[in-house]
Subunit: 129 residues, 2 copies
């Protein structure tokens, strides 16, 4: 079988990458990694997410088999979201991104300030050829 090529726009692997590209999805995966949460609990935890985006993101994560949705017929209704086994493996991987971000945020911000200060940071770039 041929190796998936994420640089091809049609590649299914690219679709997965796009899904991860969704920042809300990433945050939800990280949150659910350690506990089961209800809809409004998620809403409160993720500052500034609209309920539209939350419900939309939850639905596609469920469709992808990454999270499990359980509804309990209480009044009012109670709905719990948790990771599936598959989701758990992705959450671990994604969490390493969060860790990278937390670790290197300082370096990145310093680079940004340097870049913003001088339009031409390094003059060594005019090497001969």
């Amino acid at each position: 079988m041929q190796r998936p090529n994420p640089f091809d726009a049609q590649c299914p692997t690219r679709k997965v990458l796009d899904r991860i590209g969704d920042k809300w999805a990433v945050l939800i995966l990280i949150l659910l990694e350690h506990e089961t949460l209800r809809f409004n609990e998620l809403r409160r935890r993720i500052e500034a997410i609209s309920q539209k985006m939350l419900s939309q993101t939850l639905k596609s994560l469920e469709r992808d088999g990454l999270i499990r949705r359980e509804a309990f017929p209480t009044v009012p209704v109670t709905v719990e979201y948790s990771l599936t086994e598959l989701g758990r493996t992705l959450a671990v991987t994604v969490d390493s991104l969060r860790i990278w971000a937390e670790t290197h945020i300082g370096t990145v911000e310093a680079a940004q300030r340097r870049y913003d200060r001088g339009a031409g940071p390094d003059l060594a770039e005019t090497a001969s050829r």
Copy 2:
């Protein structure tokens, strides 16, 4: 110092996460992980990216200190892009995402088909409380 909280919209860590959320950025990092490339080479490799998005993405990656841009005064001008040390560490992390995607794409697609088939996949969801 207080732990960065990516669920707070203002958190700088979230900004990094958002950057990774950019699918083009991810693809560029992966491409540059193993070789230095010129502008139009990148353009050819990443199917369907517009030159606007490419140049825009390259610029912000450079600003973040993740890639290095070197221009050579040949005619016509030659520009090479490569990863910085910082960029290399991120590329490694991001690459694990690509691997996850390639590994589990089959499972995800199966889950999607199951979900799309029956609107109510599992009936066990009506547990008592």
